[in-house]
């Protein structure tokens, strides 16, 4: 009898669903895999607003670039400019080979890594934009290249990895 006794609550009993707790937790939005590219805003008139702008910093020196990106991000926070994201592009390694031909051919190798950090900004008013540009330009460290451009879909797609198998299958299908 002890083996057969079960403590299941039937639907008619008042204790039905006594162990449920999921309704108490906050609702989770199902995670979308691919993010959609956001739209640009241009409001006409004297108040001209830029859409998404990318500030790209490239350099050979990793610490310098990271600190500069941090500085720019904090500056935008202080100036209450909305920062969408600040991400890093993959690093590129270059091998430099010197071919010296003085009698014996020598090859001196050097390995250079190029690092790139991007800070994405939204809602920059056009009266303020040149001031911001000047501030950033005057506080640029040595050896760091600065580039400010508008965000395009191509920029967004350059961050994603291409899937050759998927592309092959798609090509076969169509």
């Amino acid at each position: 009898d002890a083996l057969l006794g079960c403590h299941r609550s039937y639907r008619s009993r008042p204790t039905h669903g006594i162990g449920k707790f999921k309704y108490l937790l906050p609702k989770e939005i199902p995670k979308r895999r691919k993010e959609k590219v956001q739209m640009k805003e241009i409001s006409a008139g004297t108040e001209y607003q830029y859409g998404d702008i990318n500030i790209q910093m490239t350099s050979y020196d990793l610490g310098l670039v990271e600190h500069f990106a941090q500085y720019v991000h904090r500056l935008c926070n202080r100036l209450s400019i909305q920062v969408n994201e600040s991400y890093a592009m993959p690093t590129k390694t270059n091998e430099v080979l010197f071919l010296e031909e003085r009698g014996s051919k020598m090859q001196l190798d050097a390995v250079l890594t190029t690092h790139q950090r991007v800070v994405q900004i939204r809602g920059l008013s056009s009266t303020f934009a040149p001031i911001l540009l000047e501030i950033i330009q005057s506080s640029q460290p040595e050896g760091v290249h600065l580039l400010m451009k508008q965000h395009t879909e191509a920029d967004f797609k350059s961050r994603l990895k291409s899937r050759p198998e998927l592309e092959e299958l798609l090509a076969e299908m169509s």
Partner: protein, 239 residues
Amino acid sequence: RRRIRLFGAMCLLRLPRITQPLEKEEEEVAALMQQIELEKSHYSDHEIRKLEEEEQLKRSKESSYDEDDARGKTVILAQDLEEKWEQKFLQFKAAPRITDADKSNDRTSLNRKLDSNLMLLVKQKIGNQELWLLPQVEWQPGETLRSTAERAMATFLGDHIQAKVLGNAPYGIYKYKFPRAIRTENNVGAKVFFFKAFLQSSDLSQAELKADHLWVTKKELGDYLQSEYLKKVNRFLLD
């Protein structure tokens, strides 16, 4: 009907080429941080290799092992590489940082203070006086103020300058009234709107139309500009 004349002036900036020298405290902090980083960091591949080779040399001297022949790897020692790099470094000569000292304070050349902003000042005749001003030209009805400023730049430096004008909005304004002797019904005063531009290329091979031009830093502006004008100009200059 217009009683006030409008002018558009251009403040042409040459950006600094070199960073400014660090202050004493900044240098001390930088040295300290460098030392901390050095002590906290791990050995790099090159340094490990160097240590291993030193140990091998020591062992082969003490107890005459024939490890070098067995390994065959160490054709070029890490020590030799280091010496090669040092020699190359000694051959490299950096460009001089202080060129203005060589040119003995020649303020008309662009190769002056490489670590600060330089601005263009031109001598212009206003009323009866010849004054040092930022290049300005009168506004004509039917054109934007920005194009007036660009025209001002073009009249003093020639057409093909690679300068990037920052934005369509003026940076500052200076208004003054003419002295009573010159005032007429239509000409009570004048307003000058300032625009900023960055000089992209550093060679001004095109001949300049008026020879009285200067490239000045912010501190030296006080030597040339009038006090009221200087106050308004200083408001929009970063340094």
